[in-house]
């Protein structure tokens, strides 16, 4: 298209400013809404995925409960009690276990003091591999190790909250802190992306806790990761195998859902991913619907415009405009209106998302709303197609204008 034709078009569009503006608004609004919807969808998805960042997304979490089915002559309501032997058995016999840890629960908040500074914290007793299940990052020193476990060492790994409250910026490594009457030595400092709560934990070796708090060899919770590349099917199989193994060891039915609760994060994560895929499809449908409404609007207004301009078209034809010249003029008009306004809508949408991203603090429900390049390209293609579509029917009508009728003196 030559610049000349463009000038001719813009001149024509200028003659119906209000009409052109309103038409443009309907398309701009459609694209704006699509971008906002997709960006918000991405924001919600990012928020949800962020919640998983704290935990390994390829792990199985197991809690013992009480039996609810009679089995091998045992009555129901029997408590299942997991021990270090179960930890060893799962580690040895279940296929694909990568990192495994138990947790020994220490009820309530523990008063912890250091040279007069006192605060209370959750204390978590676990195996060394726990680090990999909670995505705990060591920032100085080390995490709990096998030797700590074997020798029931009184050591602790503390989070940034404890460092701040007890040490006030001083290097805590090697210092002794009092954890509810037991002196333990700080061997490491960690960080966790799981928020304030995870940041204020204190980790001690599980064996130390079992010994100090009368747990013998009891484990309250067993967690392990399976191969990174695992799929849902495999994770379900591993969960089944684990359950059968523990059922055999503790004499309860493998069908008993209450004797052992299993949380499969692979399945959970997959479910969330699927959910967001469906939400995205839904958003596209809604967004395209909005744009279609805009296109129909443009088509309608162009149709009215062609009818109004019958005389103009007749004059142009009499002066030598070919049908193709008329058709291309109308289609290009539609294309320019939808294209320019669509781009304004796209721009406004992205600008709005950027504002939200800058000024709304990220949360677990909403963070980093954004649209990717693919969406922008997709929206552009949609715009061009919609422009062509919006112009096509009016253009066909314009091409059929009979100059004789159009030119008849009124």
């Amino acid at each position: 298209m030559s610049l000349d034709r463009l000038v001719e078009l813009v001149e024509t569009l200028r003659t119906a400013k209000l009409r052109t503006a309103l038409t443009a608004l309907s398309v701009a609004w459609g694209i704006f809404m699509l971008v906002i919807l997709l960006g918000s969808g991405a924001g919600i998805q990012n928020g949800a995925e962020h919640q998983f960042r704290d935990d390994a997304t390829n792990s199985l979490w197991i809690w013992p409960g009480a039996t609810s089915l009679p089995f091998e002559g045992h009555k129901i309501g029997r408590n299942v009690r997991l021990t270090d032997e179960d930890y060893d058995a799962v580690k040895r016999h279940v296929d694909g276990v990568v990192h495994i840890t138990g947790r020994f629960y220490l009820q309530g908040q523990f008063t912890v003091s250091y040279h007069g500074a006192v605060s209370s914290f959750d204390v978590r007793a676990c195996h060394p591999d726990h680090q990999f299940l909670e995505n705990t990052l060591i920032t100085s020193g080390r995490f709990i190790n096998q030797l700590d476990l074997a020798e029931n060492r009184k050591v602790a790994v503390i989070g940034p909250v404890a460092v701040e409250r007890l040490f006030k910026g001083k290097d805590p490594i090697g210092e002794w802190i009092n954890v509810r009457g037991m002196m333990v030595r700080v061997v490491g400092v960690f960080e966790d992306e799981g928020g304030e709560e995870e940041q204020s934990k204190i980790y001690i070796p599980i064996s130390t806790a079992q010994m100090a708090y009368g747990g013998a060899s009891q484990i309250h919770q067993l967690m392990f990761t399976i191969d990174e590349k695992t799929d849902v099917e495999h994770s379900v199989a591993v969960a089944g195998q684990t359950k059968r193994l523990l059922a055999a060891r503790h004499h309860f039915s493998p069908e008993d859902k209450r004797a052992l609760r299993v949380r499969n994060t692979v399945e959970d994560f997959q479910r969330i991913v699927m959910l967001f895929q469906r939400i995205r499809v839904f958003i596209w449908i809604v967004g395209i619907g909005t744009i279609v409404a805009g296109i129909v609007g443009v088509g309608n207004i162009m149709l009215i415009s062609v009818r109004e301009r019958t005389k103009e078209i007749g004059i142009r034809k009499a002066l030598g405009a070919t049908p193709w010249a008329i058709v291309s003029q109308i289609v290009l008009e539609a294309l320019i209106v939808t294209g320019v306004s669509g781009y304004l809508g796209l721009f406004a949408g992205i600008a709005t998302l950027e504002l939200v991203r800058k000024h709304v603090p990220p949360s677990d429900f909403f963070r980093d709303p954004s649209v990717n390049l693919g969406v922008v390209v997709g929206a552009t293609v949609l715009l061009v197609l919609s422009g062509l579509l919006a112009g096509y029917f009016p253009a066909r009508m314009a091409a059929r204008v009979n100059p004789i009728v159009a030119l008849r003196a009124e």
Binding site: D4, A318, I404
Partner: protein, 225 residues
């Protein structure tokens, strides 16, 4: 220049066929100044539409110069109109949102003439009709006579071989009609064939030849030259 041989044209309105032109034979030589007269319904407008390639005919032949005008595609017809024919209408038919100069330049747009050249030519042709000072005015700011002069400039800018005028003075007062007729006579004097459809005897009287139509038949062909 214009050669019609046994041209027939009828319109079908429901079951009735309205035979508007019956075996019209007509020859107009290059450089003639001809008026076509007739009461309304005589077929004069239809004849003008056929001459202007705005309408088709049923049978016979129409030659414009060397070209046989028959069953042309719309694009072809548009090209012929653009190259060979200039139109002047009773209601001027200027585009209201374009200035006088832009209106005059419009036919050249469809020839693909570059803008600068188009505008220069438009000013030249506006000067020819005495309106160079009005080049940047919109039609709404001009009188009927001025608008018709703009329309004549627009009709002439493509250097057509035939100028077809449909009641060119129909919307003008008698003094302005005079001026427009003078202008058309000047145009004819410059070598352009001019055909004027009119029902005003005064206008017809100033042409060199008058063709009278009645019920689709040429009733009289008076040559005054």
């Amino acid at each position: 220049m214009i050669h019609l041989e046994r041209v027939n044209k009828s319109y079908h309105l429901g079951h009735h066929a309205l035979h508007v032109l019956r075996n019209v034979d007509l020859t107009i030589e290059e450089g003639e100044l001809v008026s076509i007269m007739g009461s309304s319904g005589s077929g004069k407008s239809t004849l003008l539409n056929i001459l202007g390639i705005l309408d088709d005919y049923d049978s016979g032949t129409y030659r414009l110069g060397d070209a046989l005008i028959r069953d042309l595609s719309e694009s072809r017809a548009a090209q012929y109109r653009n190259r060979f024919i200039g139109f002047v209408f009773q209601s001027f038919n200027l585009l209201p949102f374009k200035t006088a100069a832009e209106n005059v330049a419009l036919p050249l747009f469809y020839q693909g003439v570059p803008r600068a050249r188009r505008n220069a030519l438009a000013l030249e042709y506006l000067a020819r009709v005495g309106l160079e000072a009005w080049a940047m005015h919109l039609p709404a700011e001009m009188s009927g006579g001025q608008k018709q002069r703009v329309a004549i400039a627009r009709a002439l800018i493509t250097k057509p071989r035939v100028l077809l005028a449909d009641e060119p003075t129909g919307a003008l007062d008698s003094k302005t009609s005079e001026q427009i007729m003078n202008l058309l006579i000047d145009v004819n004097a410059s070598g352009v064939t001019v055909v004027i459809v009119t029902h005003e005897p005064k206008v017809a009287a100033r042409t060199h030849r008058t063709i009278r139509l009645r019920d689709g038949v040429i009733e009289a062909d008076e040559d005054r030259a």
